[in-house]
């Protein structure tokens, strides 16, 4: 089995995996980082979003070996010790989750959105940018509010 090596949440990791291992499987099953979820496995829902070299990627739609040598950040890697990331804090403050299944992906999408689009995000931009993130519970309103607030808090 081929060996893959990458940095995940600042830690160097190496493992022997089958070539067909998806990045999300590698994160969840090899590294036991189960904050990254699988909602659809077909690139539709965004529950599996992680950052690969600073870009949001659906980890169900890439092989682990495609992240060879890359810097991967998962939801477990965004807080600073016991202090939540401003975007996590905004989701908590604005009650932007119910069951929480979509939340890790939403937060990774939101941080990527701020990185690309800046700290002042209007509702229209946020909703358009969330095209690839599905939530079956909240109806999105509070997620949109949380992202706008989290974006400002990230300044």
């Amino acid at each position: 089995m081929p060996t893959v090596s990458m940095t995940v949440n600042g830690k160097a990791v190496t493992a022997d995996v089958e070539p067909r291992t998806l990045l999300v499987q590698f994160l969840r099953e090899n590294l036991r980082l189960t904050g990254t979820h699988v909602g659809c496995d077909t690139s539709q829902c965004g529950a599996c979003l992680v950052h690969v070299d600073g870009h949001a990627r659906k980890s169900c739609t890439m092989f682990a070996w495609q992240a060879e040598g890359a810097n991967v950040t998962t939801i477990e890697g965004v807080a600073n010790g016991n202090t939540l990331h401003p975007m996590q804090e905004a989701f908590r403050e604005h009650h932007a989750l119910q069951c929480g299944y979509c939340t890790p992906g939403m937060i990774m999408a939101a941080i990527d959105m701020v990185n690309r689009k800046g700290n002042e995000l209007d509702d229209h931009t946020i909703r358009q940018e969330l095209d690839g993130n599905l939530c079956r519970c909240t109806g999105y309103h509070n997620i949109v509010k949380a992202i706008a607030a989290g974006a400002r808090a990230m300044k």
């Binding site: 690139s43 979003l49 990627r57 690839g132």
Partner: protein, 201 residues
């Protein structure tokens, strides 16, 4: 191959061929656009994909590890192309057309084209390519192209019906509805192309 996002945001394309830049801008969601490529899209030749319409509608040339294939010969049917098993797309070359536009009727859930029409005029070469509708994948509407030779304007195709024969019927839309949409989207594309390209040519 070039990612959807890179084509959509290319300053060169936005200046010289904005119609082409507009195609990947309408594909999927931001994360799909940061991962998917033009080569993957046209090699797959999904009957509802957007790029095949742009390639056929502009008369692109698909450059592979072995040869150059004109778009007219590349798309051979539903999920089928002229590619051989050991052949890989390395480049896609597009001619610049001043008058060109793409109009897509997005499926409200999947975002794929229920019907998408790409039109272009480059000198005497007039093309109207349709994706999403044909049961054999992307195709050209020669009746529209003939009518547009007189004048490249939405008015020229008024009253020309596209036959529903050979169009897809599924849970999303029946063949008659798709046939109707082809006319509507073609007129919108022609209006956009003439607005963009100005006067003659």
């Amino acid at each position: 191959m070039t990612k959807h996002d890179d084509v959509a945001n290319s300053p060169v394309l936005k200046e010289h061929l904005p119609a082409l830049a507009s195609v990947p801008a309408q594909i999927g969601d931001p994360h799909v656009r940061q991962a998917g490529t033009i080569g993957g899209s046209i090699a797959n030749n999904d009957p509802n994909a957007d790029y095949p319409a742009a390639c056929l509608g502009l008369g692109a040339t698909i450059v592979t590890s072995k040869r150059k294939i004109p778009a007219d010969e590349f798309f051979t049917g539903m999920f089928s192309t002229a590619l051989e098993p050991d052949e890989i797309i390395t480049r896609v070359s597009f001619p610049i057309a001043k008058k060109a536009a793409y109009q897509k009727f997005r499926h409200p859930a999947s975002g794929f084209a229920l019907v998408g029409v790409f039109v272009s005029k480059r000198g005497p070469d007039i093309r109207v390519a349709v994706t999403g509708a044909g049961s054999n994948g992307v195709f050209r509407v020669t009746a529209f192209e003939e009518a547009l030779k007189k004048r490249f304007s939405p008015k020229s195709i008024e009253g020309i019906a596209v036959p529903a024969d050979g169009l897809n019927s599924d849970i999303h839309a029946n063949a008659e509805y798709r046939a109707h949409l082809i006319g509507v989207m073609a007129k919108r594309a022609l209006a956009a192309a003439t607005a963009r390209g100005g006067g003659e040519d």
